[in-house]
């Protein structure tokens, strides 16, 4: 049942997405009316045009019932767009978000080191040697770049 639901949602993602854009455009149109003339003319025109296009696109999708279309240049192969694929995508986004969180909590260099190490070990069960080597290498590279390019690091919130 759950798998069916996910499959239904993910298989036909294109329609919900256009609906989402439509909603955002309507919101933009609405909010823009509160601006002064100079500020509202362009957003009003753009949002109106967008709403028209979105409606047309929804109509077109309704007529051509559900055929999944390729998006852009990076869709080379028929991807297995199964729920598992989506789940993995979410997983890796979570890893990324975790790194960003660490970035602010313990500082850039420790976060980078921990992230690479954790990612390789926990997610891929890579052997210790390459994981540690890559992690240490990245931290060294970052430190060197930081000095050479005078990069700024965030002040860690925790340490």
């Amino acid at each position: 049942m759950k798998a069916r639901l996910i499959a239904a949602l993910t298989h036909h993602l294109q329609t919900p997405f256009v609906l989402l854009i439509l909603a955002c455009l309507v919101a933009i149109l609405w909010i823009s009316q509160g601006f002064s003339l100079g500020a509202r003319l362009f957003p009003t025109a753009v949002a109106s045009l967008g709403i028209l296009l979105a409606v047309l696109e929804l109509g077109r999708q309704a007529i051509r019932r559900g055929a999944k279309e390729e998006s852009d240049f990076s869709d080379l192969a028929e991807e297995e767009e199964t729920p598992a694929f989506y789940a993995r995508g979410l997983l890796f986004f979570t890893w990324m978000a975790a790194f960003i969180g660490l970035f602010f909590l313990i500082g850039a260099l420790p976060a980078a080191g921990l992230y690479v190490l954790g990612f390789l070990r926990l997610q891929y069960r890579s052997p210790w040697l390459p994981s540690l080597a890559l992690s240490a290498g990245l931290v060294a590279l970052l430190w060197g770049l930081g000095v050479a390019l005078q990069l700024r690091w965030p002040t860690p919130l925790l340490l």
């Binding site: 993910t10 993602l13 294109q14 919900p16 256009v18 854009i21 455009l25 933009i28 823009s32 601006f35 002064s36 003339l37 100079g38 500020a39 003319l41 362009f42 957003p43 753009v46 949002a47 045009l49 967008g50 296009l53 696109e57 999944k68 279309e69 390729e70 998006s71 852009d72 240049f73 990076s74 080379l76 192969a77 028929e78 991807e79 767009e81 694929f85 989506y86 993995r88 995508g89 890796f92 986004f93 990324m96 790194f99 960003i100 970035f103 850039a108 992230y115 690479v116 990612f119 390789l120 997610q123 891929y124 890579s126 890559l134 990245l138 970052l142 770049l145 390019l149 990069l151 700024r152």
Partner: protein
């Protein structure tokens, strides 16, 4: 004139100045390869050192950086589909698919050869045109600039894959996104509330990185394997690429000149140049079925334009003191430090400096692209390494680079948000390049539209420049539609006689 040109070369060939040129190229390459950083950062870095230098050395250093960046930022574009600073963006359209096919070295070879020739054409154009450039640059008023933004928007058709309606919707959404922040002609900060960070609107670097880099990384990780889907002998990869470029020499020349021309127009910014060139290349090609799938012309055109533009943006910078790109603003600061006043009298008073700049541009292009060519083979090997080793490194670098923007936590929040958006767009079959184009052009289009009206009421529509550019845009779009129809007809005919298309085997998931 000629002896001034030769004299300038001797001036530049001083060992310290050459060293500065090399240092600039090295910095430019380093900063260009790492996604998220930009030429501007490299130049800001060396600004303190300029105080003690002589003008020629300082200029060589800065030009070295700005000329090397558009060459080096091809690496992330081709290898990972990550748009470089604001230069090699359109290269992702065909360079990245080529890398996915295992042809990374070929793509890089083609790109760098195109960059080399393009850069040299840019330097040549600069030296040839700069005495006459002033009236040409002045010819572009607000109405003409508005038409140029429309021209940029007309490229969307070619960037939307097969569904122009979706592309238009994405572009309009991009236009809407671009309205966030300060309105160009009113003191209103739209959609920002009290959140000061948004007063300047969303950052192009963050939108581009989020929209393009993150989804690719996530998808590659989810799919497993390496960037290149199948192994190919690296062998003569880049040589093949170089040959490709030389075979298309007219393409290189044409797009270098377009790059110079757009770069010379102050007020357009430089982000749009390679998209427009990609668009024109695709629109005017007889067989454009492979564009967006790994057509080497889709790499050659933007890359030549990208490097050639450096010659173009120097024109308004030197002749008017108005920077043609943000890197040029740094050059102006440097000129101020050296006590040089940009303006028409540079051609009489500081002619040797102008030529040193031109020579620096030419030499930096040569050194930069040669070094990049040498690096291309080892670096393209990365496309065969299992991606889980590369991904975290890239993510860290992208995050660090994105954060340098304003060092505000919102930089990373928006990076992640646009990453999710880009990923969803891929799943929903919405093309992303039109969104980016709409976003880039939004502010420009609105600004010039208002200014045209405020300056000329409605008469601006009848200006010759406006009509010309408008006709050009219509011609390009119509022509490309017709070309596409005729290609499809012949492709259909071919298809009826055999199987076409390839299927890729299921990859091992790790």
């Amino acid at each position: 004139m000629l002896d001034a040109l030769i004299n300038a070369l001797w001036i530049l060939l001083d060992p310290f100045r050459l060293m500065m040129l090399f240092a600039g190229v090295a910095i430019g390459i380093a900063v260009g390869i790492l996604p998220g950083l930009g030429g501007l950062m490299g130049m800001a870095l060396v600004l303190p050192f300029l105080f003690g230098m002589d003008a020629y050395a300082g200029v060589a250093l800065l030009i070295g950086i700005s000329a090397a960046v558009p060459s080096a930022d091809t690496f992330p574009s081709v290898l990972m589909g990550i748009p470089g600073s604001s230069g090699s963006q359109a290269t992702i359209m065909d360079g990245y698919p080529m890398a996915r096919r295992g042809e990374a070295a070929r793509a890089l070879g083609a790109a760098f050869t195109a960059s080399l020739i393009g850069g040299l054409i840019g330097a040549l154009a600069l030296s040839a045109v700069v005495p006459f450039a002033r009236p040409l640059i002045l010819a572009f008023g607000s109405p003409e600039l508005f038409m140029l933004t429309l021209l940029g928007l007309s490229m969307i058709g070619v960037l939307s894959g097969n569904r122009p309606l979706k592309g238009m919707l994405a572009a309009v959404a991009g236009l809407a996104l671009g309205t966030i922040g300060g309105a160009p002609v009113a003191a209103e900060y739209r959609f920002a509330g009290d959140f000061l960070y948004l007063y300047d609107g969303l950052s192009l670097v963050i939108v581009a990185l989020g929209l393009f880099a993150l989804p690719e990384i996530i998808d590659l990780l989810a799919r497993g394997g390496a960037i290149a889907e199948r192994s190919r002998g690296l062998g003569h990869g880049w040589v093949q690429g170089a040959k490709d470029t030389l075979n298309h020499k007219w393409l290189v020349i044409r797009h270098s000149l377009i790059g110079v021309a757009i770069g010379a127009i102050p007020g357009m910014g430089s982000s749009i140049i390679d998209w427009v060139n990609y668009g024109i290349a695709a629109q005017t090609s007889k067989d454009r079925s492979q564009f967006g799938k790994g057509d080497v012309r889709g790499v050659i055109a933007p890359e030549s334009a990208n490097n050639a533009k450096e010659g173009g943006v120097l024109m308004p910078t030197l002749l008017f003191g108005v920077p043609g790109s943000s890197a040029m603003a740094m050059l102006l600061a440097a000129l101020m430090i050296f006590g040089v006043q940009p303006g028409p009298q540079m051609l009489t008073r500081d002619l040797d400096l102008v030529f040193v700049i031109i020579w620096s541009l030419a030499l930096a292009n040569v050194f930069g692209t040669l070094i990049c060519l040498l690096l291309s083979k080892p670096i393209s090997r990365l496309t065969f390494i299992p991606f889980q080793f590369i991904a975290p490194v890239i993510i860290v670098i992208v995050v660090v680079g994105a954060w340098q923007e304003t060092r505000h936590w919102a930089d990373l929040a928006f990076l992640l948000a646009f990453g999710v958006l880009g990923w969803i767009m891929k799943r929903a079959g919405m093309p992303r390049p039109p969104l980016l184009i709409g976003f880039i052009l939004s502010g420009l289009a609105e600004r010039y539209l208002w200014m045209s009206y405020n300056l000329y009421d409605w008469e601006w529509l009848t200006r010759p420049g406006v009509l010309t550019i408008g006709a050009l845009a219509v011609f390009l779009v119509a022509g490309s539609v017709m070309l596409k129809r005729s290609t499809e007809r012949s492709a259909d005919a071919l298809q009826h006689s055999g199987e076409s298309g390839d299927s890729t085997p299921q990859e091992e998931r790790s």
